[in-house]
């Protein structure tokens, strides 16, 4: 029952609605301190001996930060040094409203036991609740609530422990600090306090700049127009005088950007912005308000490459070249042009990059160059510049005052030395937004307790399939085994085939921290030599992994088939299996081929293989595409983890055997969940590409007198099959690689939000992902849907909510795309390492594309693609004639076509530390003045320099 004696009505007015809410005050909210003898609390969070090495607070104390300190200084608060902190409910709620990412980080800290962060529900405590006074702003009221709580704690803990405990309020708000001092509280500015921790000087660099500091380091001259307040922006948007959109900076020109307007209007969906003044401090991905310029001031996109480089520019001058970019172009090329008048929402994240150390030796102000060229350089203050030079570091933007040429930021952390493998890996994960931190305590708390065993209750609800000869076939070294198979002859002469998938949804229950983390990560990311798990290792490599000779929980899809692979019956069941063998593709292949072997596992495999071949043939007859992309594998040195060899992945028959049954299971499950939940089945579709996508493929084929039909997937598949050129065995593969590039991206979607389900590449009317729940979150949702469909598990509201599911699909599609990019970057980086160690190589390759000023060459041996440029910045280039119809490129006397065989040298261009790349130069055919001879490679005299 209620303990509260009084209640206060809280009236909140919003618009014309008056909302009356009850607000109960309690006297059973405890202080959370171990030293307290008054409160009747069962467990405590704050330590008794809360010592710290602060020189200005040389007594045991707890910290109470205000909202702005949490919002701006979360980087410092996360440090293990900062412990015993009281987070007031007022602060927590304000943070929640102001920034979702910081709120999540704060909650993670609170969950971490070693941090001793305590949440005090002050708004419902009888002694600390205050009412807003007439004329008081909401902010002032909250500041007062924070001071009241700090005061209460001070009084409350006076008697705690032998000498009492003190609380220190941390705020950067001058007014708040003054009021706190007047009422006798211990209060310090956050910077002041951190600087007083003399044992931890490294924390100082990580402080975000507060307003006062910014004023110190910038001149008084106003460089940019003022941003309009939000109220005027909103009024302007409503009136149609302003437009709202997402700001996208240009990669090649730092004085240019485009803004995508969100709205219905067809024509003006993209607005060009040129010049520093007009860009007005907007940063890539910000949501901005802009005003269109009069038509006579419209300009065309420049084709000039302009990078902001060199020494820091003075805030006072040299804007002559930056004020505007003068380009005279034809009237027709002009596009709607505008200027940024205000920022609606900043989308700043910490950025990776490197420091340009200031030439002035004593200076503590330095410029930071982000790895992403679309982000402006950031000015930071640090005393460790000499240490940080040459390192990859992370920097967060704190603000961009109108009198500063660059945004101001602060150092967050160092990622390590540039060019080192671990550092570069970290950079590419961060830049591709791949969540890769260690799993938080809150997440780990939802793991099953070890030692884990299957309980009798589990067994009761599941089918016992441990007697079946189940085995798994995977790439070598695979520890997260999602799937296993079996095949046996039934008494009636038919075959029973089972696909058994790790039952991850048994361990990951909807809505808990573990589930939310997995949903956010979306997929496991595989980089060269490293795996970033979607779920903690205990699940991915142990409890969920279907290893051999141990009992594991599985979700099984079991068919009864004829020997001609006609499906007679399909059923799904939760089960317990005991795999008899974990094989690699090669091992499985050897068993199938070795006629002397006749054990049950081998027979099993042969049965599966036979059926898979029939299934595959049938699928291809229906028009499924078999496309090609070269995947490379690095052989890593086992000690240094450097790549020592590079080869394209070889596919074995058993690869396609496993794949075939996974496809079948996915299709069967897709059908089942769609039948059961027509509105909220999570499916995967692959749209047919628009016909224009095939232009390049058709042109390329035609140049070799081969016809490609693209009317349907079937027609395409058939024409690819017969495409042969005598004396050119690699032609077909090249053609398939080109065809792959024409395809659209396959995506997840919710069946209730879409009407087109077709999977073009697989020629299947419906498809989903069911077979890899350890490494893909979509599969977990599909498992849950299927479990509900067969009555094996319970449902929950979000599973049946198509809006929520659609939002989830968007995240999954985004994460998959980013994972793919991260993977490519990782391969690219390892390729560079490989060539760095090799020096310069001469290889044969084929022309894959022809561009205006370059050819793109594929080296089959390495699966490597590179560009041979024919124009250069410094010297006058050769005469180039580009014919779009071919497409062909004439360089001096020689004409390049797609599929031409060429010989190139490959070397690493590391003149730019942040953007190293593979460079290719032509050796054969010999074109005077263009090609190089194998030995005559341009020596790399240029010193490595920092880019931009």
């Amino acid at each position: 029952m209620l303990k509260s004696k009084t209640f206060v009505k809280k009236t909140r007015s919003g618009g014309v609605m008056k909302i009356v809410r009850e607000h109960y005050l309690r006297d059973d909210i405890w202080c959370g301190s171990e030293a307290c003898t008054i409160c009747k609390q069962e467990s405590t969070v704050l330590e008794k001996d809360a010592c710290s090495d602060s020189t200005i607070c040389p007594y045991p104390h707890y910290l109470i930060p205000d909202t702005n300190v949490v919002l701006h200084q979360i980087d410092v608060l996360e440090d293990p040094v900062i412990r015993n902190v009281i987070i007031l409910q007022t602060v927590l709620q304000e943070v929640r409203h102001r920034s979702a990412p910081i709120y999540k980080r704060l909650k993670d800290i609170i969950h971490e036991k070693e941090k001793h962060f305590y949440t005090f529900t002050n708004e419902h405590h009888r002694d600390t609740f205050i009412e807003r006074e007439p004329g008081e702003s909401a902010n002032d009221r909250n500041d007062r609530a924070i001071r009241t709580s700090a005061d209460w704690y001070g009084q409350h803990l006076k008697t705690a422990g032998p000498d009492g405990l003190k609380v220190v309020l941390l705020t950067n708000d001058q007014g708040n600090k003054q009021k706190a001092e007047e009422s006798g509280l211990l209060v310090h500015r956050f910077e002041e306090y951190i600087k007083s921790l003399i044992a931890h000087p490294e924390l100082v660099d990580r402080l975000a700049l507060s307003n006062d500091d910014k004023n110190e380091i910038t001149s008084s001259k106003v460089l940019f127009p003022e941003h309009l307040p939000l109220s005027r922006i909103q009024a302007g948007i409503k009136a149609g005088s302003f437009l709202q959109g997402t700001f996208r900076a240009s990669r090649d020109n730092y004085l240019e950007a485009t803004v995508f307007i969100q709205g219905e209007s067809e024509d003006g969906t993209e607005v060009l912005i040129q010049g520093l003044q007009n860009l007005n401090r907007a940063v890539h991905q910000d949501v901005v308000a802009l005003q269109l310029l009069p038509r006579n001031q419209w300009v065309a996109p420049s084709s000039v490459v302009l990078q902001d480089e060199g020494a820091a520019k003075d805030d006072n001058g040299d804007e002559e070249d930056e004020g505007k970019v003068l380009i005279s172009t034809a009237e027709t090329a002009r596009k709607p042009t505008g200027k940024v008048v205000g920022i609606i929402k900043r989308n700043w994240r910490p950025f990776c990059g490197m420091l340009n150390v200031s030439q002035i030796k004593e200076s503590t102000r330095h410029l930071f160059t982000p790895a992403d060229r679309r982000i402006p350089r950031i000015r930071i203050e640090t005393r460790q510049a000499s240490t940080l030079a040459g390192q990859r570091i992370m920097v967060a933007i704190d603000g961009w005052p109108k009198d500063s040429r660059y945004p101001n930021g602060h150092f967050v952390r160092s990622l390590g030395n540039a060019g080192e493998k671990d550092t570069e890996q970290e950079v590419l994960l961060l830049e591709h937004d791949v969540p890769h931190q260690a799993f938080s305590q809150a997440v780990l708390s939802y793991l099953p307790k070890m030692p884990w065993a299957i309980t009798p209750e589990d067994m009761e609800k599941r089918e016992d399939l441990r007697n079946l000869t189940v085995c798994s076939v995977d790439p070598p070294g695979c520890t997260d085994i999602d799937d296993a198979l079996h095949c046996r002859e039934l008494e009636n002469g038919n075959l029973e085939v089972g696909v058994h998938i790790a039952d991850v949804s048994h361990f990951i229950r909807p809505g808990n921290a573990l589930d939310r983390e997995a949903a956010n990560r979306g997929t496991t990311v595989y980089l060269c030599g490293k795996r970033i798990d979607m779920v903690p290792e205990l699940l991915s490599s142990n409890l969920c992994s279907l290893q051999s000779t141990v009992d594991r929980l599985a979700f099984s899809c079991i068919w009864e088939m004829t020997h001609e692979a006609e499906i007679l019956k399909t059923r799904f069941t939760k089960s317990v299996i005991n795999s008899k063998a974990s094989l690699t593709y090669a091992e499985a292949q050897m068993r199938i081929d070795d006629t002397t072997k006749n054990d049950s596992i081998t027979k099993n495999l042969r049965g599966l293989n036979k059926l898979a071949k029939i299934l595959k043939r049938r699928r291809i007859e229906k028009g499924a595409l078999t496309l090609s992309s070269l995947e490379v594998r690095f052989h890593m040195d086992s000690e240094t983890h450097d790549p020592i060899d590079l080869q394209t992945k070889e596919l074995q028959e058993t690869n396609s055997m496993v794949e075939e049954f996974m496809l079948l299971a996915n299709i069967s499950v897709a059908q089942k969940i769609y039948d059961e939940f027509s509105e909220c089945a999570l499916l995967r579709k692959h749209p047919a590409p628009p016909p224009s996508n095939y232009d390049i493929l058709m042109k390329a084929a035609k140049s070799k007198h081969v016809d490609i039909h693209t009317d349907s997937a079937k027609a395409l598949a058939d024409s690819l099959d017969v495409a042969r050129v005598d004396g050119f065995p690699y032609f077909n593969t090249l053609l398939r690689i080109l065809a792959t590039r024409c395809m659209m991206q396959a995506v997840y979607f919710c069946s209730g939000m879409d009407s087109d389900f077709h999977h073009y590449g697989l020629a299947s009317p419906i498809y989903t992902h069911f077979t890899s729940p350890i490494r893909r979150y979509a599969d977990i949702i599909v498992h849950r849907l299927l479990a509900v469909a067969i009555g094996a598990d319970s449902t929950y509201p979000d599973l049946m909510d198509k809006q929520k599911q659609s939002a989830l699909c968007n995240n999954l599609n985004y994460r998959h795309k980013m994972a793919q990019y991260a993977q490519r970057s990782s391969v690219a980086f390892h390729t560079q390492l490989f060539f760095k160690n090799r020096g310069i190589l001469n290889e044969e390759g084929f022309v894959l594309f022809v561009r205006k000023n370059a050819i793109i060459v594929l080296i089959p041996k390495f699966g490597l693609e590179g560009t041979v440029f024919f124009d250069s910045k410094d010297k006058t280039g050769p005469k180039l004639v580009f014919d779009e119809e071919g497409p062909t490129l004439m360089v001096e006397q020689h004409t390049f076509h797609i599929f031409d065989k060429v010989k190139v040298t490959i070397s690493l261009d590391d003149t730019n530390i942040q953007h190293q790349k593979i460079r290719m130069s032509l050796i054969h055919p010999v074109i005077p003045g263009v090609s190089v001879s194998a030995s005559d490679i341009e020596p790399q005299t240029k010193k490595p320099r920092l880019d931009h």
């Binding site: 009356v20 009850e22 929640r96 949440t119």
Partner: protein, 245 residues
């Protein structure tokens, strides 16, 4: 924008209650002298007035009379000023008609109607201010009014709304909680015997959770019955002082 956090990590709800705590209940019986029975009840910010007439002869068509028990006639309405936006139709809309029917069913299960064959009992309930749990508050107010009218009942009927958030049942939802994404159910209970007079649920909820939720609702109803019992005893005491007994 982040929605409202219905249950904080520390276990407190929006208004500061813990999951199983009820709102503050205050009630008075016998607020109108003209009626046979009446009561005014506040459960948090939801306020209801209940008036009972009867048992009396059937009014209107005689054919409605039942030969073995009394007819219960319920009418539910909401004051035009009861919600944040002024209500257009105080009664007679579909929701009110449905609510009237639910109240009728509830009291048919509780009132000993067989004692008054061929007669009629009228129960009128008006929500004066609405802040969630309208049905439950009406039932609780009407129970007091029926007792005030001296009509015998098997037991108090107590009702409560419960919701399910983060795997935790929340008792006695307020409006902010009801309008959030919560699966809620309303339950009317005869606490002593533990019989359910009415159970109503519109949202989707998995069968596995139903039992937990009903259990929480029953506990909450028993809590309500304690409060009502106190009100009745208090009222009797005051009445007996007045009559000098």
């Amino acid at each position: 924008m982040a929605g409202l956090e219905l249950l904080s990590d520390q276990g407190y709800r929006l208004d500061g209650r813990k999951a199983s705590e009820l709102r503050k209940v205050q009630a008075r019986m016998g607020v109108f002298a003209q009626a046979d029975g009446s009561a005014y009840l506040e459960q948090g910010n939801t306020k209801a007035l209940a008036v009972v007439y009867g048992p009396h002869e059937i009014r209107g068509s005689r054919s409605r009379a039942l030969h073995d028990r009394a007819v219960i006639n319920c009418q539910y309405s909401m004051a035009t000023f009861s919600t944040a936006e002024r209500k257009r139709r105080p009664h007679g809309d579909r929701k009110s008609t449905e609510m009237s029917l639910h109240l009728k069913q509830t009291f048919e299960a509780a009132v000993m109607t067989q004692l008054f064959p061929r007669s009629q009992i009228d129960i009128y309930v008006k929500i004066l201010q609405s802040d969630g749990g309208n049905y439950s508050v009406c039932v609780n107010a009407a129970t007091l009014a029926v007792i005030d009218a001296g009509i015998p009942m098997r037991d108090y009927v107590c009702a409560c709304t419960v919701g399910f958030v983060d795997e935790t049942p929340l008792a006695d939802l307020c409006y902010a909680e009801e309008s959030g994404r919560v699966s809620s159910l309303a339950l009317a209970l005869l606490p002593r015997g533990g019989q359910i007079a009415l159970l109503q649920m519109d949202a989707r909820l998995h069968q596995d959770h139903l039992e937990t939720l009903i259990e929480a609702a029953m506990t909450a109803c028993k809590g309500v019955s304690k409060v009502l019992d106190e009100v009745v005893r208090q009222h009797l005491q005051e009445a007996s002082v007045l009559t000098g007994e």
